[in-house]
Amino acid sequence: MSIQALPRNTLVGGITLILAGAIFLGLHAQEVHQSLLAIPAFIGWAAAIYATRPLVKDENHTALYFAFSIMALMIVFLHETYEYSGKLRLFPLMIGYAGVVLSAFDILSLTDTRLGHAITRILGAALDPDEIHVRKVTRELIVFSAMAAVVLCIYLIGFLVTTPIFVFLWMRLGGKKSIKACFYGGFFSLVFVYLLFEVILRYELYLGKIPLWAIDKFLP
């Protein structure tokens, strides 16, 4: 593919990436504070995504963002590894550099170019198309939020209260089950967790911040 044939976004993104890289190197040479270096690094990362996006099929865009996130993680890891000295960083550096190279290949493999197709063929990087379409981002966000909420609830009100509420709500809102079925689901999961962990295995389950505070405050 010649430069003229490249999409406009790819050219703009590529130039921005080069500029961000130059600024990053300049600031690094000036030994500025690390938080300042994060700005051109982030701009470069965003520009790289912007540049690569037109080269990737629409259905693979989320996979591209994920691949770029992994690349960013590898670079941050490498940067952190250089903070250590001598033998402490020897093996992690090997791993880090291998990670950067492999994640670069991963990004390239997603592009709808000859190079991308060659990497996909030779290194084996084909995405299963059936798996791409079965999940919806909105549903994923709802499930992630529910999971975050359950961790927060465990922290605040403990396992024994969270368990029946979580099971009830999931069955009711997610599964559209009858209230009776949800009640039984919540009740029996509480009984199961209590019997298994508290009675049989004798673990002391976390009561939660609020009940612990209440016990501390109101009970002698």
């Binding site: 033998k87 402490l88 492999l102 063929r121 961790v151 999931w170």
Partner: protein, 511 residues
């Protein structure tokens, strides 16, 4: 030779004593039942069962823990055959080949016969795999003595490469997942210098990322997130289940003993190769059977009982085989054995040469557990096939929240730290994203488990050689391992290149 044999008999005797204890037997039966259950319900699988069981074993005696988890590990494939035959949905991937003839048999009203054959061949295949393991243990001891730090380092690299290659079309992503696993393994105290790395001032990370909450998140909760995101019932509720004539199936296994023996041999061999696993064993055994049987009574794919016996004997025999690299070298042969290895480490048992030489009784406890669990699993399936078949219809929306809560409580219960719940959830999200974007979790897990050992071997090697990498090229075993690493990475690329070339040729000739 006599010393070796007397040592083996002594260890076998010590291990047998555990099975006289009533409580231990209860753990074995419980583990087997849980394995069957998780194997039978599509979407759960043996790795989820093992990840959930780890916290329950924390306060247990080592032998009891091994019996609970080993029982579960041995039973999942047997459980998976029930849903493969009745619903055309394999409970776990290794049972996929069973659907080819198992489901047509069920459609012909011969589900009982198919389940009888599957359960019996599973038990016999499992037993053959375990007996092979017993035979290999003395030889493995001799081989292990040839290994020193450079070889252990290269063996870990080879194990990871072999497993990455076995993921088929996602080799690149499997290698990236392995790198990410190593990165996670670096967090915390460095084993050589004692310095803390990558902890960012978080005291909870000083001891590194805790393996058990991480495994629970990666395998148990992430699977539930995936079920929840996909939604819906796991199996079609309209399927009518009829179970009759199981004894005919049992007899068919003995009548077709050569099919069962070939399948078991394939399963054991495939199991011993890190990462190749039960799915390949099942398919390879099935295709071998189809090729061997040139003039079948019933065409394959239309309900030939041998098409059930071949994959079922192979996918159970692989359990014994996959424990050979796990126990002898500490290199897990599959995701299940990787989680099992994590549980062993938790109980102070480091798989590898020390385990073989210092804890031979533990190895034999596992061997006996697998043996007995195979038989118990078969008996349970034969007795309770009908109620088990209804479990395969459980809705994901009932299953997901209950398993998630049990998993989170398990992550907490281990050390009583609420931070472990957060670790489990973080790894659950990571695990889900890996499922979503098709990055194999197995290489990540193995690198996470092996990270410290690999780095320690690397340091020791550098220490021995005064920081010279030449040491890797001056030892025979090292050279063999380097050659194996190169070959393992080259083969799929070469195969893909050849396939691509022939496809282009065909395209060219068509136009």
């Amino acid at each position: 030779m006599i010393d070796v044999l007397s040592g083996l008999v002594g260890s076998l005797g010590t291990a047998s004593l555990h099975f006289l204890n009533f409580n231990s037997l209860i753990f074995l039966i419980a583990g087997t039942s849980i394995g069957l259950l998780f194997g039978a319900i599509p979407g759960l699988g043996g790795t989820t069962a093992l990840a959930l069981l780890i916290p329950l074993t924390f306060g247990m005696d080592k032998a009891d823990a091994i019996m609970l988890m080993g029982g579960s590990m041995a039973a999942t494939s047997t459980g998976g055959s029930v849903s493969a035959i009745l619903l055309n949905t394999p409970g776990i991937a290794p049972n996929a080949a069973t659907t080819f003839d198992g489901f047509p048999l069920a459609q012909q009203g011969r589900a009982g016969e198919a389940i009888g054959a599957a359960a019996t061949s599973s038990a016999l295949g499992g037993l053959i795999g375990v007996f092979t393991l017993i035979l290999v243990i003395p030889i493995a001891k001799e081989i292990v003595l040839l290994f020193s730090p450079p070889e252990f380092f290269l063996l870990a690299v080879f194990g990871l490469c072999a497993i990455a290659v076995s993921t088929g079309t996602r080799l690149l992503q499997a290698l990236i997942a392995a790198i990410f696993g190593f990165i996670c393994a670096f967090v915390g105290f460095d084993l050589v210098s004692g310095a803390v790395r990558y902890a960012y001032g978080v005291e909870a990370l000083w001891d590194g990322i805790k393996l058990v909450p991480a495994l629970i998140g990666l395998f148990a909760i992430s699977q539930m997130i995936d079920l929840a995101v996909k939604g819906g019932a796991i199996a079609d509720e309209k399927i009518d289940i009829k179970l009759q004539r199981m004894s005919v199936g049992i007899k068919a296994v003995f009548k077709n003993w050569s099919t069962m023996l070939t399948g078991s041999a394939i399963g054991t061999f495939i199991g011993a190769v890190p990462g190749v696993g039960g799915t390949v064993a099942g398919f390879l055994s099935y295709s071998t059977q189809v090729q061997r049987d040139t003039n079948p009574d019933v065409p394959y794919g239309k309900g030939n009982i041998k098409g059930v016996i071949a994959p079922e004997s192979a996918n159970n025999a692989k359990d014994g085989g996959s424990l050979i690299p796990t126990l002898a070298f500490g290199i897990p042969g599959s995701a299940e054995t990787a989680v099992f290895l994590g549980a062993m480490v938790l109980h102070g048992l480091e798989p590898g040469p020390r385990l073989l030489f210092e804890h031979e009784d533990v190895v034999f406890t596992l061997v006996l557990t697998l043996t007995i669990a195979c038989v118990i699993a078969t008996l349970i399936v034969l007795a309770l096939a009908r109620p088990m078949s209804y479990l395969t219809k459980v809705d994901a929306h009932i299953l997901a929240p209950v398993v998630t809560m049990v998993a989170l409580v398990g992550a907490y219960a281990l050390q009583g730290e609420i931070g472990d719940v957060v670790v489990a959830m973080v790894f659950a999200i990571i695990g889900y994203l890996m499922i979503r974007f098709q990055y194999p979790r197995i290489t990540f897990t193995i690198a996470l488990v092996l990270g410290n050992i690999t780095e320690r071997s690397f340091f020791q090697t550098m220490g021995i050689s005064d920081d010279s990498y030449a040491i890797f090229f001056t030892r025979n075993v090292s050279l063999i391992l380097i050659a194996l690493i190169i070959i393992s990475l080259m083969i799929p690329s070469f195969r893909n290149w050849m396939a691509d070339r022939s496809a282009r040729k065909e395209e060219g000739s068509a136009t």
